[in-house]
Subunit: 346 residues, 4 copies
C-alpha cells in the first residue's frame, strides 16, 4: 500500500499515520521526495486494506499494490483448476470444465415446458453440447414479463437431465432457493445482476456443487474475482467465471462482450472462464462470429441459447439460435478449436 | 410498438406478423414506405411487450412507443406522492418525504456501536437532519472487509431510534432478513447492487414500510422505474427513488453522480427522489457542493454520511463528513433551499 | 512514480531498472516487501513520465504519484484565474469570467442569419446574458446535416457584436481557420470533439484571445487539464474549461452532465469552469434545473442555447430555450446565485 | 421517421406537424392509438432527418427508421469493397485489403529513426506482414510527451518504403499536413481522437489514397459509419474502418476492444474492417490472444505494434511485441486464418 501525502502535509500528520501503521503491526517506509512525501506500507496489505487511509488528515491519495483477491489468483494455485461434473447416471461420461476441451453449454433461455426442453436438449446433445442450460427462475427487468416456471421448471429440468443423461445448469436468484437448486442442478448459476448479491454468494460457499458466476454489467474484472473470492472463502472452491457483456454507450448490441476479459482472467486466475455470446450480443446472427472469437481467445467454454421457434420464445427469442444454425456454428467452432490446440464436442 | 421490416421482407413474412398481432387481440397498421415497410401495433402495448417480435423472420428492428412502467409514471398519478413517516413515539413529529421540505438523512455508513450511533444521531438531529441512516448488513465488494454488525446492529439502531425519537433507515440485502428489518426500521433501503435483485423487490412489495430504492451503478433511469414497478405491483406503493452515482470511465470520483436523473424522474414520475452525494462522489470535500446542486435541481432529500472520526470508520471513511463540516453544509443548504422555494431542517 | 515488480522479478531485472533511473538523473528507493518489491522514483516525476517503465522486464505495474499537468494545477497558481474580456467598444463594459459573477453565455446553436442573430442577441442581452454564442462552423455527425454558414456566419457575428456591443464566442474546428476566428471573436471555442485535436490546441496557444475548451465526450477530467496544458504551454494562459456532458449508457438524456467535474476542477485547478446544460442534457426542459444546479455547485458561468423558434432551428432545436423560458430561468438563477454568495446579470 | 406524440397533444399541434411534413414534400400517416397518436413519415427519411422534429409542440419522441448513412451501407453496394494498394515499385506485389487474405500491418508506434524503422520493417516483412506502420505525427495526451519526428519521420518512412518495397501507413492530424502525407503514404490514417474531426475528414475526401479510419474512444458504430460517409460523400470511396477499443469503466485494459463491432460492421457495411489489438488492450501479452480472436471474428486485417526494445520506445512500449513474439503470434494466426477459410502472410 502506498500513501501519497498532500504537498502541504504537516509533520504531525505524517507521524500520526506512521504510528497507526505501527499499531496495526506493520512497517512504514517514509520517503521524502522533492514535491511530495510518500509512505509505503511493508507487509501483508490485506491487514490494512479495510482501513480508511484516505480519510487521514494530510493524505492525498492511496494506492494499492497487491491484488485484493487471494484464492482466485494465479499465485494461489499455479495449476489451472479443472471442474469435474460427474456422470449424471451410470453409462454417462463426466464433463470437465477447464481442461483441453472447450465445453459447450446450450439450451433455451427459459424452461417453457418438459417437451420443448427434451427436444432442444436432445438436439444440442447430439450436436456436441455437453451441458443443458435453461432458466426456471428468471430475472426479468419488468414485473410484467414471464418470470419463469419456478419449481415446476426445476422438476422438468431434473426429468430431462435423467432421461437424456446430460448435466444441467440453472440460475438461482434467492438465498431461499439455493438448497432446492443445488440439489437438482449439476452447476448453479449466478446471473450478472446478482454478481454482487453478497448474501447469495456466501450461501453458495456452503454447497457442494460448482457455481458459475457471471460478470455484472458494470463490474470490473477485479470485482468479478472478488465475488469469486466470496464463494471460495466461504468454503466452495469450485467456481467457474463467465463473461457475458458489459454495459457501454454502444446501442447496436445489447451489451459489449469483453473478450479481453477472458484473456485477462486466464492470465490472473487459475479458474476456468466461459463466454456467453447470446446475452453478450443480443442478436442471434452475431452469436456465431463471437463464439469463434471466444474459442480463439481461449475461453474454456461457451453458453449458447438455442430455441426451436425463437419467435415464440417466452424470453430472449431474438438472441436464440435455431437448432440447425447451432449445428453450423458447432461445425465452425470445431475447426477453430483445433487451430488453437483444443477440442470441442465428441 | 413499431415494427420496422427489412427492405427485402417478403409478403408472407408480413402476413405472418400481422396474423400474430391479430391473434394477440390487437390491430396492425401496415404502412408501405418507399424503402421499408413499417407495422404499427395499435392498442395496449403491454400486451405484446413480452413477445419476441425481433425474432420474427423479416423484422429489422422493433421500437417501443409506450413507457414500460405504469404505476411509477406521472400519468398514473398526477399528484406527487408524499411518503409520510409517522412519529417514532408520542411527542415526536412525522416526517414527509416528497413535500416542500428537503429531508436530510444523515449518519454513519455502518453501525459500529451503540454509543457512536447515539452521538452521531444526536448531532445530526440537532443540525436539522430528520432521519438517521446506518448500515447493519453491509454489501462489501471484499469478503475480507467489515460485513456489518448484523442483527446486533439492528438492535442498536432500534434503541437509538427510541432514545432520540428519530426515524431510521437501514439496508436489507437478503430476502430472509426482510421481516426483521421491516419490523424495526422506518424505511427499508435497497442498495444499488440489489436494484435488480427481483426476488428481494417482490418480497418488499408485501411489507408495510416505505422502501428507498437506489439506482444501480449501470442502470438506466427507466430500469430504476421498472424496479420500483416490481415493488409497487406487488402491493407496496410507498417507494422512494435515490440517485447515488453511476459508473463511467472517470476515475477521480468514485462514481459519476447523475443529477439530471433527478430532473428526469421529477418529470416522468410522481415518486419522490433523493440524492446520495457521499457514495456519488466518494470524497467528503465534494459532498457539500454536490448537495447544494442536488437541492437546486429539485431533489426531495439528501443522504449524507457523517462520522465523528472518519479515519477510524469501519467503512467509507473518506467520504464521511465530520459533524462540524456537516453543520456548515446544512447551513449553506438552507439558503439554496429557500432560493428554490423549499425548506430544510427545523 | 512507483514501480511495482512482479513477485518473481529477478535481481538483475531490478538492477537494470535502478540503473536506468540513475541514468535519467533520478534516485531510486527500493523497498523489499514480503510479497513484492517496490521501487519509488524520487525527484521530478515529469522526467520519467514518458519512459515506458511498464515495458521493463519484471515490472508488474507503474503508478503515477504526481499530477501530469502543471500550469493548469492549483499548485501552479493559488489565486483563481480571472479571464477579462475587454469592452467591445467604448461605452460597453468588460466581462470577467472567473470572478464573483456567474457569467451567462447565450444564443442560438448556429448562426442562421443576421436578423435572427440580432434579435436573439438583443433579447438575451436584455435578460442579463453577457456574451453571445452562435456557431458559424458546425461539427455535425452527419455530412448531410447543416454545416454552418462558415465565413458568412463569422461576418454576421462580427456585425451583431458591434451593433449590440456584446462580446461573442464561436467555435473553431480547423487549424486553417484559427486566424480568422481569433480576429473577430472575443473567445475562441474548442468543441468536445476537438478536445484532443492537439494540432489545433497548439495553434491556439499562439493567439491572444481566451480559449474555451470543452471536455470531450469520453475524456477524464485529467485529460481535460492536459489539453488545457497544451494551450498554456504553447503560450496562451487564458483558458476557460467547460463541462458539457459525457457519454454513458443512459439514453434518456443526450449526455450525462457531470456536475461533480465542476467541483473537482475548482479543487484541482485555478482556471474558471463553465457548464453547458443544453448539450449536456439535450432536452430544453432539463436546462433550467441543471442550470440551477450548476450555479449551486460553483460553475463560473453557463452556456445556454436560445432560439425564438426551436422547431425551425437548423441545429439542436430540441435543446433550445424559447426567449421567454430563458427569462424565467435567468430569474430563478439569480436567486440561487445570491444564495451561494454570487451574482448573475446586471 | 416515426413521431410519437404526447398523450395530451392537441389537434392543432398534430395538424401543424402534418402540414410541415407536407411542406417538406413528404406524406404523413397519422395513427390514433388508444393511448397515443403516432405520425409516420412516408418517403425518403433523409429529407427530414435534419429537421428538429422533437422541438415541435406536442411531440414526445422521434424515432428514426432508416439508417442515416448511405454510401457506407451494405445496401449501397452488396459486393464487399476491396482496397487495392498498388506495388510500391516494380517487382513488388500489390496488397488487397478486404479480400480473402487477412492483412497484417505491423511496425513501431512511432518513427524513432531511419535505422530502427528499417530493421523492424525488414523483420515484420519477413514474418508475413504486408504493410509497415509508424507514426511521424503523434497525438499524445501530454504536451510534454514525445510528439513525433514530424516531416523528418515522413522522410524516413518514404526511404524505408522504397528500400524494402513495402507499403506504409501513417497518421495525419492536421488539415495542413494532408497533402504531404497523402503524397508519401500508401494509406492515410485517421486516429481515434480525430474520428469526428470533420474538417479533416472532408479534406481526406479529396485525396486519391485510401483512408484508414479508427473508431473514436466513445463513438458508436453508427457514428463511425457516418464519419466514413463524410469521406465518401466528399469523393473518396476508399475507406477502411478500424476498431481499436472503446472507453469503459474497466481499468485493467487500456481500452475495451469491441470485437462485436467487427461482426456488426461486416453485417451492415461493405467496407473492410481492421482491428488494432495493441491500442485496444495496452498490454503486449494480450495482443496475441486478441489477434487470434480478431481473425476468428472476421477482421480483414490487424494492426500490431512491434518494437525491438519496448523499454526504450518513445511511445507505447508496454503494448509493443518483441520481434520474436510477433513471429510466434503470426505463426498462431495462420492456423486460425485457415480454420475460418482465410489466409495470412505469404
Amino acid at each position: 500500500m502506498i500513501i501519497v501525502l498532500k504537498p502541504d502535509a504537516k509533520k504531525e500528520q505524517i507521524d500520526h499515520i506512521v504510528e497507526s501503521i505501527h499499531e496495526w503491526g506493520l512497517e512504514a517506509d517514509v520517503s521524502h521526495g522533492s514535491e511530495q512525501t510518500i509512505i509505503g506500507i511493508i507487509g501483508d496489505e490485506s491487514l490494512v486494506r479495510a482501513k480508511p487511509l484516505a480519510a487521514f488528515p494530510g493524505v492525498d491519495n492511496v494506492m494499492r499494490v497487491q491484488k485484493p483477491y487471494k484464492r482466485a489468483s494465479i499465485e494461489f494455485r499455479t495449476e489451472r483448476t479443472q471442474i469435474v461434473i460427474p456422470p449424471v447416471r451410470p453409462g454417462c461420461r463426466e464433463v470437465v470444465i477447464g481442461g483441453n476441451e472447450v465445453v459447450v453449454i446450450a439450451g433455451p433461455c427459459s424452461v417453457e415446458g418438459r417437451e420443448m426442453l427434451r427436444n432442444i436438449g436432445r438436439h444440442i446433445q447430439n450436436s456436441g453440447a455437453k451441458i443443458l442450460r435453461a432458466g426456471a427462475f428468471k430475472p426479468r427487468s419488468s414485473p410484467y414479463a414471464f418470470q419463469g416456471l419456478g419449481v415446476k421448471g426445476i422438476r422438468y429440468l431434473a426429468d430431462v437431465r435423467m432421461e437424456l443423461g446430460i448435466p444441467i445448469i440453472t440460475e438461482v436468484m434467492d438465498t431461499r432457493d439455493v438448497e432446492l437448486i443445488a440439489k437438482f442442478s449439476d452447476i448453479v448459476q449466478v446471473g450478472a445482476r446478482n454478481m454482487q448479491n453478497f448474501s447469495l454468494l456466501k450461501v453458495l460457499g456452503s454447497i457442494d456443487k460448482p457455481v458459475l458466476l457471471k460478470r455484472g454489467l458494470s463490474n470490473t474484472i477485479e470485482e468479478l474475482m472478488m465475488s469469486a473470492e466470496y464463494i471460495m472463502s466461504s468454503g466452495n472452491e469450485r467456481v467457474i467465471l463467465c463473461e457475458r457483456g458489459i454495459r457501454t454507450f454502444e446501442t447496436y448490441t445489447r451489451n459489449t462482450l469483453d473478450l479481453s476479459a477472458v484473456a485477462v482472467i486466464k492470465k490472473e486466475s487459475h479458474l476456468p472462464v466461459l463466454l456467453d455470446p447470446s446475452h453478450g450480443t443480443g442478436h442471434w446472427d452475431l452469436v456465431g462470429p463471437m463464439s469463434l472469437a471466444g474459442v480463439a481467445v481461449g475461453a474454456d467454454g461457451l453458453m449458447i441459447e438455442v430455441h426451436h421457434k425463437p419467435e415464440e420464445a417466452l424470453s430472449d427469442g431474438p438472441q436464440s439460435l435455431l437448432p440447425k444454425t447451432f449445428d453450423n456454428v458447432m461445425h465452425e467452432l470445431k475447426k477453430v478449436a483445433v487451430a488453437v490446440g483444443r477440442s470441442i464436442g465428441n
